[in-house]
């Protein structure tokens, strides 16, 4: 078996092992909690410490990313472990919280945990779906280069449209550019587009551009086709920008809340032990 086959087998094996271990851990925790409750023990302390350990384990991914030069397994394996451990922690979290949640701090902590968990689930889903959508665009664009590329295509479109006025074929293309294309090239896309990027505007503009053909001669037609390509490029850039920004924003949110959560958990543990009641 060569290295590539080995890699694939190891990915599948990793998934099976991780799923089984998560399931076993959940069952074991549920049995243990039930056993503690049956013996009139403090089940919330048991689930609390389990949750603390599991949550601490989730931070190991960040640590692994920092120690990139060490031979500690691939980050993808650690991410997979993070995902399964996150699932386990979320289930234990549900076992741990009492309902209704009492106290503003406890509500804030629970909300923070829930948002981190939800962003984590959404990130997992989006990291599988969005790359495929991004790769449907013929060319890949790096997020930090997109503003410069947008500016470049806007400038090119402007020059081309102005130049087309000198063909002696009338001002059809320039007028259309001024009224319909200039706002498209200059404006940022709406918030709605950033959440649900669609090709509606692009298709409409391209159709309208195509409708101009009957008024254009040879040189005008060539310019029209070049403008159509630029509209397509601008739309591709906007599409990439929208999807990549969405992913990064969610990732930043997940990370930022993760560290807030760490602080809140620490306060929660201190508070629990500070005000813990004792049975005489």
């Amino acid at each position: 078996m060569d290295a590539t086959q080995g890699r694939l087998a190891s990915l599948r094996r990793r998934r099976i092992i991780a799923s089984s271990l998560t399931l076993l851990a959940v069952i074991a925790t549920a049995v243990a909690v039930q056993s503690v409750a049956n013996r009139l023990g403090d089940a919330s302390t048991a689930t609390g410490w389990t949750l603390l350990v599991a949550t601490a384990g989730l931070y190991l991914l960040s640590l692994r990313k920092k120690l990139i030069q060490h031979r500690l397994g691939s980050v993808s394996a650690w991410l997979q472990m993070h995902t399964y451990m996150g699932s386990f922690a979320s289930i234990v979290f549900l076992m741990h919280i009492g309902w209704p949640i009492r106290g503003w701090f406890e509500i804030a902590l629970a909300t923070c945990f829930a948002i981190v968990a939800v962003t984590g689930i959404v990130l997992t889903y989006m990291s599988r779906v969005l790359p495929k959508r991004l790769s449907t665009i013929k060319q890949d664009f790096r997020l930090e280069l997109i503003p410069a590329l947008r500016l470049s295509v806007t400038k090119d479109a402007h020059e081309l449209a102005i130049h087309s006025a000198s063909f002696g074929e009338g001002a059809t293309l320039v007028e259309f550019y001024q009224i319909r294309l200039l706002p498209f090239f200059l404006s940022r896309r709406s918030w709605f587009y950033r959440f649900v990027p669609t090709g509606f505007t692009r298709r409409q503009l391209l159709r309208e551009l195509h409708d101009l053909d009957r008024y254009l001669a040879e040189q005008g037609l060539q310019s029209r086709m070049q403008l159509a390509t630029m509209v397509q490029t601008k739309d591709d850039l906007d599409y990439h920008y929208a999807l990549q920004t969405r992913l990064r924003t969610l990732f930043v949110m997940h990370i930022a809340l993760t560290w807030s959560l760490a602080v809140m958990i620490a306060i929660h543990v201190v508070l629990v032990y500070r005000f813990q009641g004792t049975v005489l």
Binding site: T4, Q5, S74
Partner: protein, 585 residues
């Protein structure tokens, strides 16, 4: 705020000679010996005269009996000229494949000399009859540090067990690996106490300005190819010696294209596929008489078939691969009433190709009768080309014929990507564009800029990122005047020595893939180094070094959280195909 600067003298070509201890007297002595005594010093530039070349680009090696000069499979950038004594060239492998595979990796440098190269394409050359019967070969180390040398014990015993040839005073050897940028094909050992002059590739290139030396080089190059490499072809492994001698006598060695192909490629890259293919030298053409069996010796060749008005690439053939065997075998076993078949595909040189041709009659008489049934090709049931018959149109999609889809294959050949041994391929269907790979690269290399760019040619969801591919044929090395860019003898990775890089940009300009960048240099205090003569910054070449200083392998690959990035040998289509067809995990 302007960055602080420090004025320094611009580094020059011979700031770091191969042997700093070489004296003028020893060079004068050398100039009296052939072939240097026969050279015309006026043919060399004043700034790089014959004496300068010998002083800076060569060194004298005083060897004892049994000293290993280099071993098979190592990469090397030097040729060797025997000044006195004798050197043995071992044509058979001294260490059997199995023992080397089981050998534990050692950090002791001299032991690593005998470590197996991680080059799977070479594995097929494993079985050689002589080795099977040979007694184990023992090596020892003499001296320490820089002067350490590995030597072969019991030279007479080893000579009795292994086929070898002798190189005597005035003869050159080892230049082929240096010229073709390929691994050594044999092991060279000092037979008795001898003196050998090592000439590094950069000097060798300058010495070639002299026609006398060029002739010596060419003659040696050809005879070496014919005598050693035919024996290595798996197809000929069971051919008896007397028949092999007939094959050796009849075989012809031919070169196609240009060794410095990158300049032409840059011009052709923007042309249409048809123009690109038309510019590739034809080695053998479909529909023409199958006149012989071609064996690719070096470089890559495009195997294609006409499709409509164009040509469809079926595969690319690399070192050791054959062309024409199917047709010749068919013609050999056909009924007397049936007509001979012409070549069914075309073979074209991509860049530069070294190839051997064994004439048809010699294949019939001295090769085919000794081939094992398992090695014989399947009969041609529905040939596309038959003399006197209309040409059958090829089916557009024949998955059984190719390992990867046609479009991808064409793309890789057109972009010369098959040259990459450690190419960075990113699966954009998985890549979330998180840039963890870039950050990992940057962190591993001291927090500076990453040594690659997450951009590059794209085919569907596959991006061939701009990271050094550590090519099979590293053309970036050709023009380097100091040897700063070199191939690691053991791992085969291409590295840049910052001590000897003079910032001439030769490598960056010759890399066909734009994977080498020139960056400003700074001293230990972080001050930018500028040329004291004109104030211009001192540049240095930089590129991916495959994290050679790190024990955990390429950081980019291990840092990818989604398994979207791989460093892969694009010459191995089966591996590429397996990776690309993997299921979502």
């Amino acid at each position: 705020m302007a960055q602080e600067q420090v004025e320094v003298q611009r580094p020059e070509r011979w700031d770091h000679p191969l042997d700093p201890n070489t004296s003028d007297a020893s060079i004068d002595q050398l100039l009296k010996l052939p072939p240097f005594a026969l050279m015309d010093e006026r043919r060399f530039a004043q700034t790089a005269g014959l004496k300068d070349i010998l002083k800076n680009d060569s060194r004298l090696l005083d060897l004892k009996s049994g000293d290993v000069i280099f071993r098979e499979g190592q990469y090397g950038g030097s040729a060797y000229l025997v000044l006195s004594g004798q050197v043995r060239i071992f044509l058979t492998r001294l260490l059997p494949e199995d023992s080397r595979r089981n050998e534990r990796r050692s950090e002791i440098p001299w032991l690593s000399l005998f470590r197996k190269q991680p080059d799977r394409r070479r594995a097929s050359r494993g079985a050689r009859a002589l080795v099977a019967q040979a007694r184990p070969v023992a090596f020892s180390q003499r001296g320490e540090g820089q002067n350490a040398r590995v030597f072969l014990q019991d030279v007479p015993g080893v000579l009795a067990d292994h086929a070898s040839s002798v190189v005597t005073s005035g003869e050159l050897f080892g230049e082929m690996a240096a010229v073709t940028r390929s691994p050594r094909e044999f092991t060279a050992v000092a037979e008795d106490d001898c003196s050998v002059l090592e000439i590094r590739w950069q000097g060798l290139k300058l010495l070639k300005q002299d026609p006398q030396f060029r002739t010596l080089l060419d003659e040696r190059y050809r005879s070496e190819v014919l005598s050693t490499h035919l024996r290595e072809t798996p197809l000929l492994r069971y051919v008896p010696d007397d028949h092999l001698a007939k094959v050796v006598a009849a075989v012809t060695f031919e070169s196609f294209g240009n060794l410095e192909w990158y300049a032409e490629y840059r011009k052709q890259a923007k042309q249409s596929a048809a123009v690109q293919i038309a510019s590739e030298p034809i080695i053998a053409e479909e529909g023409t008489y199958a006149i012989g069996l071609w064996i690719v010796r070096g470089g890559f060749a495009r195997l294609s078939r006409r499709q409509g008005a164009g040509h469809r690439t079926l595969a690319y053939l690399g070192k050791g691969q054959l062309f024409g065997l199917r047709e010749l075998y068919h013609n050999r076993i056909r009924d007397n009433s049936a007509r001979a078949l012409p070549f069914q595909e075309s073979l074209r040189a991509i860049g530069y190709v070294d190839a051997l041709c064994i004439p048809k009659q010699v294949v019939f008489e001295h090769v085919l009768p000794f081939m094992r049934a398992a090695d014989l090709p399947a009969p041609l049931s529905s040939p596309h080309y038959q003399f006197g018959q209309p040409v059958l149109d090829a089916e557009l999609i024949r998955p059984d014929e190719q390992t990867v889809e046609t479009g991808l294959l064409e793309f890789m050949v057109d972009h010369r990507l098959m040259n990459g041994r450690e190419a960075m391929v990113i699966d954009l269907d998985r890549c979330t564009r998180c840039d963890d790979c870039l950050r990992a690269c940057s962190t591993t290399h001291g927090g500076d800029q990453p040594l690659f760019s997450r951009s590059g040619p794209q085919y569907g969801p596959w991006m061939f990122a701009q990271a050094c591919m550590h090519c099979a044929d590293p053309v970036c090395m050709i023009g380097c005047p100091t040897g700063a860019i070199h191939r690691d003898q053991e791992s085969g990775t291409i590295n840049i020595n910052p001590q000897t890089c003079i910032g001439c940009k030769s490598c960056a300009e010759s890399c066909p893939y734009d994977n080498i960048r020139m960056v400003r240099t700074s001293d230990s205090s972080g001050r930018v180094r500028v040329d004291e003569a004109n104030g211009l910054p001192i540049l240095q070449a930089t590129k991916c070094d495959l994290c050679s200083q790190s024990s955990s392998g390429p950081a980019c690959q291990s840092a990818c959280p989604h398994d979207a990035l791989i460093r892969i040998d694009l010459g191995d289509l089966q591996k590429v195909s397996q990776w690309m067809q993997r299921k979502a995990a």
